[in-house]
């Protein structure tokens, strides 16, 4: 063995990320709901039942909010369920005993979630243009895509926390219990303004609300302060990550 020669880190991170993506896209239990549910919701509520919400076109508005909803799913499931599962199967232990840099494992899941968010964005965006006649500037499209792809990060951190605490069997249930109510209460399915007052006041406590604000801002709708939303998301990310690392340390040092 020649310890002076190192394998290429770029290659390790790239292949790890690509296979993390391939791994979930081939699993129908993961890929179908995360790709098709947001699309089905969008088609149903934005295109098929074209109710007018004030003076906002639903096809346009809901592209941003369902885009956020779609980006959260793979992040939460990939980290929350994936981590808990791979931990329980002993797979993570073998990876940790291998010469894989441990950062590659987490980075690959992050990349997977962001790549997935890009897929759902393109899927919803394409549907919005073709069937919803949504028109935006190229810079707006770019802005929205960036927000939706990078907006997955706080929910990766949230999933990391769930996956660091939950057992494999309960992780799916826990993630579903977080994902759907949080998305609804954050105004990703319908505008928060249509909620009763106390729910409107509750919404800013949820990270998905701030993600929605940023996505809608990118699509040209003003529902809150994007600067505040960005700070809130960064704060949530740091807190979730710190708690997850604390839980991981406890798990690995008996």
């Amino acid at each position: 063995m020649n310890t002076a020669i190192r394998p290429s880190m770029t290659k390790i991170y790239a292949l790890e990320s690509w296979l993390a993506f391939i791994q979930v896209i081939r699993a129908p239990a993961f890929a179908l709901p995360t790709l098709l549910f947001p699309l089905a919701f969008y088609v149903l509520f934005a295109l098929v039942l074209p109710t007018r919400m004030g003076n906002m076109a639903p096809a346009h508005y809901l592209l941003a909010s369902y885009g956020a909803f779609a980006a959260i799913g793979p992040a939460l499931f990939g980290f929350g369920v994936g981590l808990a599962m791979e931990q329980q199967m002993g797979w993570l232990a073998l990876k940790r005993a291998s010469p894989m840099p441990i950062g590659a494992y987490f980075a690959s899941k992050l990349a997977m979630a962001m790549l997935f968010a890009l897929c759902t964005t393109l899927l919803l965006g394409g549907t919005a243009v073709v069937f919803g006649k949504v028109r935006m500037d190229i810079s707006q499209w770019l802005h929205l895509t960036l927000v939706l792809v990078f907006g997955a990060i706080p929910f990766c951190a949230m999933g990391l926390l769930v996956g660091s605490i939950a057992k494999a069997q309960s992780a799916v249930a826990i993630v579903n219990l977080i994902y759907l109510p949080m998305s609804a209460l954050s105004g990703l399915w319908m505008p928060v303004k249509m909620f009763p007052m106390f729910l409107q006041e509750l919404a800013p406590l949820l990270p998905a609300y701030h993600f929605g604000v940023l996505a809608l801002d990118a699509a040209g709708f003003e529902v809150g302060n994007p600067g505040v939303a960005l700070m809130a998301l960064i704060g949530f990310t740091l807190v979730f990550t710190a708690l997850a690392f604390y839980a991981q340390r406890r798990r690995w040092s008996p």
């Binding site: 063995m1 190192r6 391939i22 005993a97 010469p99």
Partner: protein, 296 residues
Amino acid sequence: MSKPVIARWREASKRFGTLVALDRFSLDIHAGEVLAVLGANGAGKTTALGLLTGLIRASSGHVELFGKDPTSTEARRGMGVMLQTAEPPDTLTVAEHVRLFSGYYAQPRALAETLSLAQLSDLAQRPYGVLSGGQKRRLHFALAICGRPQLLLVDEPTTGLDIDARRSFWQVLRGLVAEGTAVVLTTHYLEEADALADRVALIQHGRLLALDTPLGIKSRVGGQCVRFRSTLADQMLAQLPGVLRVRRDGSHFELSATDVERLLPLLLAADPGLRDLTISAQSLESAVVDLIKEAA
């Protein structure tokens, strides 16, 4: 042994709460040797191996892998690991799994070479989830050897394999040893340890009970095993020259004895009606059972 030491436990202890899983365990692993770590369930084998992989941290003492901390990525590049329970994701193919792990190492084997060594060449494009139990074990083995490691650590590699599969696994392992790979293995098949190992480390209650060649372990207990049926008394048999141990099950006797050539005429003279006489080499299994009993 004059070969360089590539890994070592030095007075390594591990406590889980009040349980002492490993108690001041010291052992060197030399380049190119095959070391079998044996012991009953719960004796401390898995803990000893866990310290070497860095998955478990020593409570006291220390463990070195290529002169470094076992958690160091650089040290781990010299080691391949096969754990008892590590299930890879179902949806990735055999080739994808091997390619990914090969990338972790500086000078990995070519994909085709790894697959051929692990007898997976025909299964390269199969997803992991559809493999049979034995094929899955072969993939775990492939992941351990793909990086051309100088030290191969295999925990119960042949559990669940049939005898043919086990023997062909031994053959591959011998080939790797011929290339200079050191192997640390645990196994429940003592016949396997006897066939493969240069040295046997016997662990009991977290301590190193014996460290010797398989032959050395066997001769500690006594050279040969003499079985027969007779009406003789135990005490009388125990006093015959060269008899180390007498075991009895009804009229069936099993003696551990040295100098069998001198013993046999005396035995036959003492009981002319003695029947079903067999003489065999002491098996590692009975030697290990004896040593553990003796120490308990």
